[in-house]
């Protein structure tokens, strides 16, 4: 099995000050984004954040109201969709129901002056790549959702697109299949090395698959970074809460040097946050401590908490989830969330515990 990745051109995608308005509603505000060649970039955000609008503008299904889209360094605003040479996988797969699987995959090759003798071979290679070598003669409705998904992917990549656009391709699958397809999609993408833009609202998909994540909210790009960066050093309260659950504690920054920022927060007192996780915080200004729910650990009173910041807390709610348990705690007047691995028996509601975390696991945001 050889997919000739060497023959496929790989292009970068650039958005320059892209604005998209629908009537009086602005779906995308001044989006700037640089997607390098061969990268797997995820647009992540809740529904209505503008991620799909961005994808559809790159695809050529929507025209930007302002700004410029470049693919492979060339402006494509005026290039119609059928000349952009992109592979798109739609959320509902959009397979042609009246054509067989092989005809579906061969569809794009008809418009690319591929010799007839090569069409069958390339269709078969694409089917092999998605590990469904024997379904070419069947119709889409005879396949399962996961299989249709793979065929949609095969149809999009057989044309050797410059960019692969994936619009929530996994959201119609059930949970187990979704995780398998996640691995499969990533495998195929790395194998052919195509620049990929992936749209999802699922943070775990984004974290598992992406080279870079673009977190969007209300039409604006909140943060662009590697999965580790957006997870560990969120640039805003929105990002901190959208990727996993976080406790945000408003306070102030007492001092800051090259190594660390010293934050003063209610409930826990002084917390020394590493400087690289508090890039926007200045000494003397208001600041917020970002404490991830899974970094806040519950311990029995009197346990060893060397090197940790602690406070006494009362367990209010226990949400048992099998491997983990989610606690809502009351510390003073504030409710905090903690997600802990279960070690022995979980704590019970009403129990008094020590809530503890390591200060180096925290991040800090500027502002009140």
């Amino acid at each position: 099995m050889n997919f000739h990745p060497e023959s496929a051109p790989v292009s970068s995608v650039t958005l320059n000050n892209i604005v998209k308005r629908f009537g009086t509603f602005t779906a995308v505000h001044k989006a700037n984004l640089e997607i390098p060649e061969g990268a797997f970039v995820t647009l992540l955000g809740p529904s209505g954040c503008g991620k799909t609008t961005n994808l559809r503008m790159i695809a050529g299904l929507l025209d930007p109201s302002e700004g410029e889209i470049l693919i492979g360094g060339k402006r494509v605003n005026e290039v119609p969709i059928h000349k952009r040479n992109l592979g798109i996988v739609f959320q509902n797969y959009a397979l042609f129901p009246h054509k067989t699987v092989a005809e579906n995959i061969a569809f794009g090759l008809k418009y690319r002056s591929v010799p007839k003798s090569d069409v069958a071979r390339r269709v078969q290679e694409a089917l092999d790549l998605v590990q469904l070598p024997d379904v070419g003669h069947r119709y889409p409705k005879e396949l399962s959702g996961g299989q249709q998904q793979r065929i949609a992917l095969a149809r999009a990549i057989v044309i050797e697109p410059e960019v692969l656009l994936l619009d929530e391709p996994l959201s119609a699958l059930d949970a187990n299949l979704r995780e398998d397809m996640r691995v499969e999609l990533k495998r195929i993408q790395s194998k052919i090395g195509v620049t990929t833009v992936f749209v999802t609202h699922d943070q775990s998909e984004a974290l598992a698959m992406s080279d870079k994540i673009v977190v969007m909210s209300a039409g604006r790009i909140e943060q662009v970074g590697t999965p580790e960066e957006v997870y560990n050093t969120p640039a805003s309260e929105f990002v901190a809460n959208f990727l996993g659950a976080s406790n945000i504690l408003a306070g102030g920054c007492a001092s800051k040097d090259a190594n660390a920022a010293l934050l003063d927060v209610p409930l826990f007192g002084s917390v020394l946050v590493p400087a690289d996780k508090a890039p926007a915080v200045n000494a003397g200004d208001a600041a917020k401590l970002v404490l991830r729910a899974e970094k806040l650990v519950l311990k029995a009173p009197g346990s060893d908490t060397t090197g940790m910041v602690t406070a006494e807390a009362v367990v209010e709610t226990v949400d048992y989830q099998g491997q983990t348990v989610r606690y809502f705690l009351r510390v003073g007047d504030t409710q905090l969330q903690a997600i802990n691995m279960i070690d022995g028996r979980p704590f019970a509601e009403g129990q008094t515990v020590t809530a503890a975390f390591r200060p180096q696991d925290c991040a800090a945001l500027a502002g009140a």
Binding site: A59, G60, I81, G87, I88, N92, F96, P97, K110, I159
Partner: protein, 288 residues
């Protein structure tokens, strides 16, 4: 009574009012017609009950009836094609319009609020000797005397298209409306132009609606007698006019019955062929 028995009876209970109506108002009269068609019409004008094949022999062998049957089918076919050609773009426009679909569909239904006969007769006011078109042409000095535009096959087809176009548009619309717009987007992304995507994807997927609309237009068009009566000349009679003539004018029920059963058989055969290849479900979708 067991649950199974009760569940098995339920659909029949729900269907019984409709079945009673259909039986009494359609099947029983049709049976009368069938019986009538074998009676004998004597020269004195009296009907003799019995089993005579004279009407059927006349209906099936007289070239007069055959020719009118053929011209009826031809007019219905031309009307159907005209409705398809004019209806498809309209249906496409309605199906793809954002937001005001309901308004457009309401406008499509609007003609149904006026009697079919009135709608047909309105063409006399437009195309008649003292109608709008002649008056306009004379006022503009293009013609000096009014032209007789009415009472020919073209005006019959015009009237039929006017009557049947909404049925065609509705059927195609239902078909197009059910097609995922992402299919065209997907075809475009794979390199097809808008027109190629339409030919490759949208058109084939909308064929069932086109066929259902075609069947409806053909059957309704071939069975009509009002349009040729109002807008046709003496030589433009369609098959249903012969039935009308035999039964209403000549009071020859036996012959009229045989003729109407003949038309029913021809159109019934068409519906069977359609059902064999496309299924009635699509037609029901279009009507609903």
């Amino acid at each position: 009574m067991s649950v199974e028995k009760r569940e098995a009876r339920q659909p029949w209970i729900l269907l019984s009012p409709a079945l009673t109506a259909v039986t009494l108002l359609l099947f029983v009269p049709l049976l009368f017609i069938l019986v009538y068609s074998f009676w004998l019409r004597t020269a004195t004008g009296a009907d003799v009950a019995g089993f005579y094949l004279d009407n059927w022999q006349e209906a099936l062998t007289d070239p007069f009836y055959r020719d009118i049957l053929i011209s009826t089918l031809r007019i219905a076919a031309i009307t159907t094609v005209a409705c398809a050609v004019m209806g498809y773009p309209s249906a496409y426009f309605i199906a793809r319009s954002q937001g005001n679909k309901a308004v457009l569909l309401l406008l499509l239904m609007l003609p149904f609020w006026i009697s079919y006969i009135i709608r047909t007769m309105s063409w006399i006011n437009i195309l008649g000797v003292s109608g709008a078109l002649n008056s306009a042409l004379m006022a503009l000095g293009i013609i000096s005397e009014p032209i007789q535009m009415l009472y020919n096959e073209v005006t019959v087809i015009l009237g039929l298209v006017h009557f049947l176009l909404p049925f065609m548009i509705l059927n195609i619309f239902v078909s197009l409306d059910g097609i995922d717009t992402n299919l065209e987007n997907a075809a475009n992304s794979l390199g097809a132009t808008k027109w190629q995507a339409f030919l490759q994807v949208t058109l084939p997927l909308s064929l069932p609606g086109l066929a259902a609309g075609g069947l409806l237009c053909f059957v309704l068009g071939a069975g009509t007698y009002i349009t040729p009566l109002v807008l046709g000349g003496p030589r433009d009679a369609m098959f249903a006019n012969l039935v009308f003539e035999a039964i209403i004018t000549q009071l020859n029920w036996p012959l009229g019955s045989a003729l109407s059963l003949m038309l029913l058989a021809v159109l019934g055969a068409l519906v069977m062929i359609y059902n064999r290849y496309l299924g009635m479900a699509q037609l029901m979708k279009g009507l609903g």
